[in-house]
Symmetry: C2
Subunit: 119 residues, 2 copies
């Protein structure tokens, strides 16, 4: 039960594409992640996933369109909807999703990160 | 499935202490609220509640201490923990909590607001 300051937590993150847990609410985690470049196509079969951009700009490619998210914007990817995040410059992002949600869903691959690391 | 811009949504809120839903993730709502002054002591018996300050400063009184939250800070009040929000100047806040969570918990009273209003 302590206050979480996003800037302080972000300052501790160096590795990109590796979400770190900063808080938990019931069985949901708040995670921060820095990302740049292109992620992999994936979905989450059993859950929606919320994206909030804290700094920079994020494109979420969907199969039928692109969603551009800027600082101070939120987007919820519904469960089962394929998406591919991409950022030209480094983007600072908060994810809210159920405990144990893996960043690559069921797609796997080298960009898969642990889902249980706190910072 | 649309992008939510916090500033645009906040501009549509005039009434204080009346949370408005801006997005839903599974069975959780993201709500925005403007508040100033003192709320009532209450708790939520069945759920944690996440507070993120988007602008201004919020004090969350707990029975054993006060938590001060500033812009860019997050705090999760655990279920069953009594709390009383207070803000000297108008504070812009995001709440994340299960669908149907009532702002005053089971305390009731004149500050109780509908929990199902989207903006």
């Amino acid at each position: 039960m302590s206050t979480v300051n996003f800037a302080e937590k972000l300052a501790k993150i160096s590795e990109q594409w590796s979400p770190k847990i900063i808080a938990r609410m019931n069985d949901y985690d708040f995670k921060l992640v820095k990302l740049q470049g292109e992620f992999v196509w994936h979905d989450h079969k059993n859950t929606d996933e919320a994206f909030i951009v804290l700094d920079g700009e994020l494109t979420i490619h969907l199969r039928d369109r692109d969603v551009v998210l800027r600082k101070g914007e939120l987007f919820v990817v519904p469960k089962g909807v394929e998406h591919k995040p991409e950022a030209t410059k480094e983007c600072h992002l908060m994810l809210i999703e159920p405990v144990g949600t893996v960043n690559t869903g069921e797609a796997g691959g080298t960009m898969t990160a642990p889902s249980d690391v706190w910072i």
